[in-house]
């Protein structure tokens, strides 16, 4: 938000050479960090990037053509299933009967990702949810490359630091444009919780189509959520709060969760205090607006 202006200034002040230099330095730092297998936590300043990425553009995105072809094993290495060749063959026949897909068939996990943090930013929520939902696999999705890289390195360091307690093995991050590619990663009804924390507000009316909550996108959230699954939203922008409430309330697949139930949910407390944006708002003594929505059963097809 306020950051973009700052970035611009920085960019124009830099000569091309400086820029390259800086980029090189960051690159070196990150490589060193990774190669050392270090337990040192990454520092944000080495992962700076412009504040907004255009969700409509062709990024060099990597995504599987089909959720069955998503390779989760390197992201959650402690959850890789011992594979029985029998069930391997079965899924192939069901979903992708072609020979060529067998070659690409990724290793399976013992359980599916069930919780998604959309636009996870620097990963504060993921890190806090990991011990709170220890038996769930949690995934952060983020469109900005270096921010994703930061979270990846952060998780790696945390896993290393907490090797003995086996912590942070259930969280991972993925670079993705969720507005376009959710169905490539998740099957119908796979998720039980979706977090949308402090999404970019896109104040101008002509930018509303870029908002991560909309009538048509809500149908996609409904698709990946199982019935009675929950969408969690939080923002410090009253207009955006109203927008999100309006669009979820009015969507036939969702109902708003009552305030009592909302306040009793431990994830709500974590969402209020643990995301980077949430902390920033706290420091500025801003107000935070929370709303939860329950995925309803689909109506009978009449």
């Amino acid at each position: 938000m306020g950051r973009s202006k700052h970035n611009k200034r920085e960019a124009t002040a830099d000569t091309a050479g400086d820029k390259k230099n800086k980029r090189q330095k960051r690159e070196d730092y990150r490589t060193a960090l990774r190669e050392n297998g270090s337990t040192e936590l990454p520092r944000k300043k080495h992962y700076r990037q412009r504040a907004h990425a255009n969700p409509f553009s062709d990024h060099k995105l990597i995504y599987p053509p089909h959720p069955e072809l998503m390779n989760w094993s390197s992201m959650y290495p402690h959850y890789v299933a011992e594979e029985g060749p029998a069930d391997q063959a079965q899924t192939d026949a069901e979903v992708l009967p072609d020979r060529d897909s067998e070659v690409l068939k990724p290793k399976k996990l013992t359980q599916d990702v069930e919780v998604a943090d959309i636009g996870c930013g620097f990963g504060g929520l993921l890190v806090a949810l990991a011990p709170a939902l220890p038996d769930k696999l949690i995934l952060g999705l983020e469109i900005r490359v270096s921010v994703t890289q930061f979270v990846e390195d952060r998780i790696k360091a945390l896993r290393a630091q907490n090797e003995e307690q086996k912590l942070y093995r259930n969280i991972a991050v993925l670079r993705a444009n969720t507005m376009k590619f959710m169905p490539n990663f998740f099957t119908k009804g796979q998720l039980s919780k979706i977090f949308i924390c402090f999404p970019d507000p896109h104040f101008k009316a002509r930018k509303h189509k870029q908002r991560i909550v909309s009538t048509t996108l809500n149908s996609e959230y409904a698709y990946v959520l199982q019935p009675s699954g929950i969408v969690y939203t939080i923002t410090d922008v009253p207009d955006l709060h109203e927008w999100m409430v309006g669009h979820f309330e009015a969507h036939p697949s969702f109902e708003r969760v009552s305030e009592e139930e909302q306040e009793a949910d431990p994830c709500v407390t974590i969402m209020r205090t643990e995301t980077e944006e949430g902390k920033k708002v706290e420091r500025n003594q801003g107000k935070k607006y929370v709303a939860l929505y329950r995925r309803l059963e689909d109506p009978p097809h009449e």
Binding site: S57, P65, D98, P183, T216, L217, P299
Partner: protein
């Protein structure tokens, strides 16, 4: 001066063929019947063109900023959501209204070209979409080839493809920005369509904000009982107010409802009826390799599934007649895919590139532009139509800039396309569209070709006016011993009436024409990153 016919639609015994923005009809012997001509006043003005263009620029600078700015908006709209960096701006940018005054052709896309022709199942209506003016036109068809324009509706964004619901009541328009709008085939005076459709859309619960314009919240303060419901109603109103505000600013003034949307550019839409429950579904395909299955009106908020597996953009989809659970899709991949769209399973892939390479071995990629499936009728000896259909479906495929028609067979018991024949086109002309005539004693194939595509490479930078030769742009093929052969049949179209023809006053160059006719390969993604 002749522009080629580039879109074909057979409707009953009548052949409709679009040339530029106009639609011509022919009987089953391919004799010319009549024409609906794109209004000249909208399209061009022969004299004083300079003056009116300047005047118009003045107008528009007052309305939407300096002309340069406006041109940028237009071009970014062309580019649509998933193409380059300026698009997001275009997504909500003010629309350029159709110009009433004279118009100068500054960009090729200013030319009116019919982008698609569709007919209702009863053949009583023909629907045409035109890209340059983003307009959907509905015609009444008297069954004998004569069209009467019933309505012209300019959509908020450029439609890419439309489908008509099986009840022939609703047009589903899929646009470049990923949205699907429903609008009544026949506009009702009292907004009956909106009332019924939006009421039905929200029956499952209180409401959907998807409805626009004529939409009113179903429940009112008196019917709401619980606190939650009341809150829901308030929010529903809030969304409607917001929406109304936006609509007022830039939305069209006719009945229409937003039904569903992708964030990716839509390229194709179809309506399928599931043999399982006999319910209609909306099938949408996008540039980002997705095929989405959604319940039809009134439950378009329910996504039933996706048919995923394409590696490149999808440009066209087709449900073969009498195989209602199958879907054939094609685009930038080397193969055609056959799906069971009801169960979201891919059933087979057919290597199309391999067939194309038999014509041009150096070919490395292709872009499918048409997949057309039909059921041949069995004709008995007397030449009467026998009701018993053949045991297979014929599938004809066109790829961009490949001068051939690829023919496949789909046997009733099978789910794999069998290559039957590759029909090379005379003079190396590129096909633009294909239709099938169930004529007796034997069927014929009608192909719209681009007569300017004779030479392979030299055409790119020529500014010559498009071919003025007599090279026919409609070709007829007949079936002899199971193989299609070209005939010498010449189709005599109407002579363009002098003075009224847009081509005459402002000749189109080959280059310009190519830009209009060959747009599919440009859907392929180029990796552009911000890093």
């Amino acid at each position: 001066m002749s522009l080629p016919y580039h879109i074909l639609k057979v409707c009953g015994g009548v052949v409709f063929a679009a040339r530029a923005g106009s639609i011509y009809s022919f009987n089953s012997d391919l004799e010319y019947i009549s024409a609906w001509e794109y209004p000249v006043k909208q399209q061009q003005q022969t004299k004083g063109q300079e003056a009116s263009a300047t005047e118009q620029q003045k107008e528009s600078s007052a309305a939407d900023g300096p002309p340069t700015k406006r041109r940028k908006v237009e071009s970014s709209q062309e580019a649509a959501p998933s193409n380059g960096s300026g698009d997001a701006e275009g997504a909500g940018a003010p629309e350029t209204k159709p110009k009433k005054k004279g118009k100068s052709y500054t960009t090729p896309t200013d030319r009116a070209f019919v982008q698609g022709l569709y007919s209702t199942t009863d053949g009583r209506h023909l629907v045409a979409i035109t890209g340059s003016d983003k307009t959907i036109r509905v015609f009444e068809h008297d069954g004998a080839g004569n069209l009467r324009l019933l309505s012209e509706r300019q959509m908020p964004k450029r439609p890419c493809d439309i489908a008509i619901t099986p009840d022939n009541r609703t047009i589903l328009s899929a646009d470049k920005f990923g949205d699907v709008y429903g609008l009544p085939l026949i506009e009702s005076e009292d907004g009956q369509w909106s009332k019924e459709t939006s009421a039905a859309q929200q029956k499952s619960r209180s409401a959907t904000p998807a409805a626009s314009q004529a939409y009113k919240p179903q429940a009112n303060e008196f019917t709401v009982h619980t606190v939650r419901n009341r809150k829901a109603l308030e929010n529903q109103k809030l969304v409607l107010e917001q929406r109304a505000k936006e609509e007022k600013a830039e939305g069209p003034q006719f009945e229409h409802i937003l039904l569903l949307g992708h964030v990716s550019m839509l390229t194709a839409i179809a309506v399928g009826t599931s043999p399982k429950n006999n319910k209609p579904y909306i099938i949408t395909a996008d540039r980002d390799e997705h095929i989405r299955i959604t319940r039809s009106i009134p439950q378009t908020h329910v996504i039933e599934g996706f048919c995923l597996g394409h590696d490149e953009f999808i440009s066209t989809i087709c449900i073969p007649p009498l195989r209602p659970d199958l879907l054939i899709s094609g685009g930038g991949d080397d193969e055609l895919y056959v799906w069971n769209w009801v169960s979201n399973q891919r059933l087979s892939k057919t290597d199309l590139l391999k067939e194309a390479q038999k014509l041009a071995p150096e070919m490395a990629k292709l872009a499918v532009t048409r997949i057309f499936a039909t059921r041949p009728k069995q004709i008995n000896k007397k030449g009467d139509e026998n009701n018993k259909s053949d045991d297979h479906t014929l599938v004809f495929v066109i790829c961009e800039r490949i001068p051939a028609i690829f023919c496949f067979q789909l046997k009733d018991s099978e789910t794999t396309l069998q290559h039957a024949q590759t029909i090379p086109l005379p003079n190396g002309n590129n096909p633009l569209d294909v239709e099938y005539l169930h004529s007796s004693p034997s069927p014929r194939l009608l192909v719209a070709v681009d007569p300017n595509s004779i030479t392979t490479s030299s055409t790119e930078n020529t500014t010559e006016p498009a071919a003025t030769t007599t090279t026919p742009s409609l070709r007829v093929f007949s079936l002899e011993q199971g193989q299609w052969h070209p005939t010498e049949q010449v189709i005599k179209g109407p002579e363009p009436s002098t003075g009224s023809s847009p081509e005459e006053s402002n000749p189109i160059t080959v280059q310009e024409l190519q830009k209009i006719l060959y747009t599919t390969e440009s859907l392929r993604k180029t990796a552009t990153d911000f890093e």
